[in-house]
Amino acid sequence: MIIPIDLALLFFIVVIAIAAITTKDLLAAIVLLSAYSFLMACVWVEMNAVDVGFTEAAIGAGVTTAFMIAALSRTARWEEK
């Protein structure tokens, strides 16, 4: 693994995770979650966990996001408060 890349990715992951839970716009939160999952997949590929990275990119960043947006299309987009 290459440490500078690893650190940069992990830093972005933390930032995106915090952004995803603080934003009031749920659509934005879901897209940020997708980005979070994708960066996580990058970290794992870079840690030589190729299969896990692949699965996370497909399931975490892909399908789960699709599920969440589908569910959001039937509910409310904005968080109160």
Binding site: A29, N48, D51, T64, E80
Partner: protein, 140 residues
């Protein structure tokens, strides 16, 4: 002190970052009032645990710098001759299972969220509790 930092903070930075993400996710899961937000927090929490597991499996971080290089656990004769080491495949296997389980939990949670929205017309926990109280009052 510097030695402690080098041993336990620098060499284990994955663990620290996993903790930070995990606690963020846990906080969101417990404290947020929005039902969908809770699920987002839950996903973050689960992913952080997977990060912890995958970090365990890796070979060739700071402690082995210059001595060992990890390679993906796919048989690769040439790489082994060049001094690469396979990383540990067991946590990968476990986490593949974990990722799919987490996606399944999220899916069931989303289905419940959709049903709750159809039932109560809101995703805020407070509103739902208010409406439940109203129903209770009307009932008695």
């Amino acid at each position: 002190m510097i030695e402690w930092i080098a041993q336990h903070i620098v060499a284990k930075y994955n663990f620290w970052i996993a903790i930070v993400i995990m606690l963020t996710g846990l906080y969101a899961t417990v404290a947020k009032g929005n039902l969908l937000k809770k699920l987002i927090g839950l996903t973050i929490f689960q992913t952080a645990i997977f990060l912890f597991y995958v970090s365990l499996s890796d070979v060739g971080t700071l402690s082995g710098l210059g001595l060992h290089y990890g390679t993906a656990p796919i048989v690769w004769e040439e790489g082994i001759h060049r001094g690469y080491m396979y990383v540990n495949p067991l946590p990968h296997v476990l986490m593949l299972t974990g990722i799919v389980v987490s996606a399944a939990t999220t899916a069931v949670g989303l289905a419940l969220v959709v049903r709750l929205y159809e039932e109560y017309g809101t995703l805020e926990e407070e509103r739902i509790m208010e409406k439940e109280m109203e129903i209770d009052k009307r009932g008695t």
